[in-house]
């Protein structure tokens, strides 16, 4: 199974190096990969429908408890078949759709990478592995949405989609981690067994929210839905594959997968029902206000996803069964409609429903596919769409609480979706063919074949639901821990409420289709209230956030060195001051201190006067001279306190520094009195507090006992072992010789630097 998943990745890697070959005609060969995989997964049907699961496990990063554990059960089988089956058709379709595109190879690369990631996602039993593949689908989606990379809109949509799904991804990561910690394992299989403990843990709500965050962003639930219409900037095969049939269902998949672990809880169910219903109605209404075919389909997809969330939220056996069927329904008709739209777009270069008419005359097979898909979407018998709708009504009717409200909402949604399906699948083909489309070329079989196959499948499954009932649908429900044994999929249920609801849907929807025609006027209506849409609110928030970022960065990184220094000092003083304040215990043992002599006082006074001069003089030369005096005074201090080597070094270095200064300084301008009084006071206070902290620190340290162990060792062994009597020098060249070595290296580097600074002048004519 690992190979099955890796196949797509390997192929996309191969394309990096052999891309040229796959450009143009031979591109269709790549469709062999999903076909082979489809066959591979088909062979598991008997075993799965018999109630088995197939588990393959490979060790990857055991230290994190992250392994490539793949489980094939009913749920993952359904998704795998959808991914590879629709994948195959999309690959074939692409070969014609992007026939002459110069980046066809890249497109296949991303597409097969996406397919592999998606397969990995639905097959992973390990939460972290699932997350890994989850992110890979987001990234492939990013590349695919931005595939038309010259188009700024396309790039922007790609970033938006990545940001939103990335947000969800992090939510999933956090959720997985918390769930793993609480449940003691990342294995979903094991987590199912501890679902009771998880529900009882204080983190249950947190986990649920995090998982919702992931699912809602990926499956475009309100208010995160807006990235999906944007994602329609991608080429149509992408919209078909990722943004209606597979990737957006990853969120649905996650919710279904988590149902046995987290489901059956008040919070879980009601949140899903509420969010799902808001999404389905909101998006369904939006379909009325679009004229772009892909826009209509995008919103109807969101609405369908809302229905699925709504159904999963109900959580009953009937609802889950309905969800499973509806996934198949939606995948079949929506993929068809997208492919049809793509063909229309490809051949007529238009997607505007207000002008597309009568296309059946130029592309009859496409019109058939569109029609079949539209009636499946409308839930007109004998399509599988009818089955899906019936089941949906049935389970909603059984809801406890306020079923009337939910029934009303789902009814409205279904009616509007019927309208949308008709607009997208039927209206472009009926009526009078406008003149401008008369010369439209007939699409090739590679284009119209895939939608026909999908739409016909919708009818076949509707007429003979037995084909999928036992093999695909029921194992899905079983995988979610419910048994749907006594339910049967059939077209005729007798005269009951459900049937009347169906009839109402079809009648009202059809009436609606003939009364409300998509028009620019409707589009304008909705743009007027666009400013309160989640998209505008979030993008407003985002630009506010950007402004805040600039502000924050400008406050700290303001370009003034002294502000940087001040910030660092304030931080240092604040922390040390706080600790000193909390722990101050002054104890000074004055007896150990040395006496004060006149010489010392004189030297210290000289030093302080010199420092005073350096700080306050207006003349640079005086400052440098005072600097020299200061150095000499320090030199004397070293002499007083038994450090002849230091005194010598200090003296020579002091001399050299003064020479350097004099050499350099007389070219520099006069000091300017640059800062105002207030600044100087502020800086003075800062400097003095720092100085005081240092003084206090010194006094505190001096009060501590002395440990002379190491210096005694040096003193004892300087002559005996290191053959020298000047201990300081022995330390420098022997005990701590490495320090000295590095110190002369520092000098050498500095000299090279000085040399370079002064001699190297990059000229305009220099090669850059």
């Amino acid at each position: 199974m690992l190979i099955a998943i890796l196949l797509g990745f390997l192929f996309s890697l191969l394309l990096v190096f052999t891309g040229k070959f796959f450009k143009g005609k031979p591109g269709i060969i790549s469709a062999a990969i999903p076909l082979v995989l489809f066959g591979y997964f088909l062979q598991f049907i008997p075993e799965i429908s018999a109630g088995g699961t197939i588990v393959h496990s490979y060790s990857w990063v055991p230290s994190f408890g992250v392994n490539l554990d793949f489980t094939l059960d009913g749920l993952s089988l359904l998704f795998s078949l959808m991914i590879t089956g629709i994948g195959f058709l999309v690959f074939v379709y692409t070969a014609a759709y992007l026939k002459n595109h110069k980046y066809l190879d890249r497109f296949y690369g991303y597409l097969s990478m996406f397919m592999a990631a998606m397969l990995g996602l639905v097959l992973s039993d390990n939460l972290i592995t699932l997350f890994v593949f989850w992110e890979l689908t987001s990234i492939s989606s990013f590349f695919l949405i931005g595939f038309n990379n010259s188009n700024p809109e396309s790039r922007k949509s790609a970033i938006t989609a990545l940001a939103i799904t990335g947000l969800g991804g992090l939510s999933l990561l956090a959720g997985a981690l918390v769930l793993g910690s609480v449940g003691g394992s990342y294995s979903i299989d094991e987590l199912m067994n501890s679902s009771g403990e998880i529900a009882a843990s204080p983190y249950y709500i947190l986990i649920a929210i995090l998982i919702f965050g992931a699912a809602f962003t990926k499956s475009a639930q309100f208010p995160f839905h807006f990235w999906l219409p944007g994602a329609m900037k991608a080429p149509t095969p992408v919209s078909t594959y990722l943004h209606s049939a597979t990737m957006v269902k990853a969120g649905i998949y996650l919710l279904m997968r988590m149902t046995p672990v987290l489901g059956n809880q008040e919070f879980w169910n009601s949140t899903l029902i509420i969010v799902g219903s808001i999404t389905m109605v909101y998006a369904a209404i939006h379909t009325l206000f679009r004229t772009d075919l892909k826009g209509i389909l995008a919103y109807s997809t969101i609405s369908a996803l809302g229905i699925l969330v709504f159904l999963i939220g109900q959580g009953t056996e009937a609802a889950l069964l309905a969800a499973a069927v509806f996934i198949v329904v939606h995948a079949l008709y929506k993929a068809t409609l997208f492919l049809v739209t793509g063909i229309i777009d490809h051949q007529t270069l238009s997607r505007d429903v207000t002008i597309l008419r009568g296309l059946r005359k130029v592309m009859l097979p496409v019109a058939i596919a569109g029609f079949l898909a539209a009636i499946s979407s409308a839930g007109i018998p004998p399509t599988i769409g009818f089955l899906g709708k019936e089941l949906t009504y049935e389970s909603t009717l059984a809801l406890v609480g306020t079923p009337l409200l939910w029934i009303a909402l789902i009814l409205i949604t279904k009616i509007l979706l019927l309208h949308a399906g008709f607009v997208a699948g039927i209206s472009p083909f009926i009526g009078q063919l406008p003149e401008r489309f008369e010369k439209t070329k007939k699409p090739g079989i590679l284009l119209w074949g895939p939608p026909i196959i999908l739409s016909v499948a919708g009818i076949v499954f509707g007429v003979f639901p037995g084909i999928i009932e036992g093999s695909l649908i029921k194992p899905v429900v079983a995988a979610m821990g419910q048994d749907a044994g006594d339910q049967h999929l059939q077209l005729w249920h007798g005269f009951n409420t459900v049937l009347w609801l169906s009839v109402a849907t079809i009648v009202i929807g059809t009436v609606l289709y003939f009364t409300i025609k998509p028009s620019q006027k409707l589009v304008k209506m909705v743009t007027r209230v666009e400013y309160i849409s989640p998209e505008s609110i979030i993008s407003g928030f985002w630009s506010l956030f950007n402004k805040f970022s600039s502000l924050w960065t400008r406050i700290f990184q303001n370009g003034y060195l002294r502000n940087y220094v001040s910030t660092i000092l304030v931080f240092l003083i604040g922390l040390t001051g706080y600790v000193l304040y909390n722990t101050a215990n002054f104890s000074m043992d004055f007896s150990t201190l040395s006496e004060i002599t006149v010489y010392e006082i004189v030297v210290v006074t000289i030093l302080l006067i010199a420092v005073f001069f350096v700080v306050f003089t207006r003349s640079r030369l005086a400052a440098v001279a005072s600097m020299g005096v200061m150095g000499l005074a320090i030199c004397l201090i070293f002499v007083f306190y038994s450090a002849p080597d230091l005194a010598m070094t200090q003296f020579s270095i002091d001399t050299l520094t003064v020479i350097l200064f004099v050499l350099v300084l007389y070219r520099l301008p006069r000091y300017l009195k640059l800062s105002d009084y207030k600044t100087r006071i502020r800086d003075g206070v800062l400097a003095l507090s720092f100085g005081s902290i240092i003084t206090i620190l010194i006094l505190e340290v001096l009060a501590q006992p002395v440990n002379m162990e190491i210096s005694e060792y040096y003193a004892q062994n300087a002559y005996l072992l290191a053959h020298g009597k000047n201990v300081v020098n022995v330390i420098l060249v022997d005990f701590r010789g490495s320090d000295t070595f590095m110190e002369i290296s520092v000098l050498a580097i500095a000299a090279i630097g000085v040399f370079g600074l002064l001699k190297l002048r990059l000229k305009k004519t220099d090669q850059r």
């Binding site: 002849p644 080597d645 010598m648 070094t649 020579s652 270095i653 001399t655 050299l656 020479i659 350097l660 050499l663 350099v664 070219r667 290191a722 053959h723 020298g724 009597k725 000047n726 300081v728 020098n729 022995v730 420098l732 060249v733 022997d734 010789g737 490495s738 000295t740 070595f741 002369i744 290296s745 000098l747 050498a748 500095a750 000299a751 090279i752 000085v754 040399f755 002064l758 001699k759």
Partner: protein, 136 residues
């Protein structure tokens, strides 16, 4: 500043000061001094000479670029530090010639290290000062 007296004086002063700096270097192990101070003294001697006789004269006197002393000094220090590795002793282990030598005292790798320091210090100081004097 460049008086005849200073000129003549510096002509004599230079070798004397250099000799003194070597003395400071060598006695470092026993009395205050060592490679640093020695090197600084030597450089000050050259700087003095440059003040008196002009930079170009000092440069011709030295013949090669003083910067060359830096890698030489570093190499010397490096070799004296590496020598113990031949005896499977750690880097910078002091190796000592068993007999004491007059004036210097015990002869060991530490001395060569100190000479390396001395050379680097001269090289560095002179490079810096000469370069500045050059470009002004």
């Amino acid at each position: 500043m460049r008086t005849i007296i200073l000129k003549t004086a510096s002509a004599y002063l230079l070798p004397v000061l250099l000799l003194f700096s070597v003395f400071i270097l060598l006695r470092g192990h026993y009395l205050p001094g060592g490679g640093f101070v020695g090197g600084l003294m030597a450089s000050i001697a050259f700087v003095l000479h440059a003040f008196a006789n002009g930079l170009s004269n000092t440069k011709t006197l030295i013949r090669f670029h003083p910067g060359f002393l830096m890698p030489v000094g570093l190499a010397l220090a490096f070799l004296s530090g590496m020598a113990p590795l031949m005896f499977d002793l750690p880097f910078m282990t002091g190796l000592w010639y068993p007999e004491a030598i007059p004036v210097i005292g015990s002869l060991g790798s530490a001395l060569f290290f100190d000479i390396g320091v001395y050379l680097v210090v001269i090289g560095v100081t002179l490079t810096i000062i000469f370069t500045i004097a050059d470009t002004i």
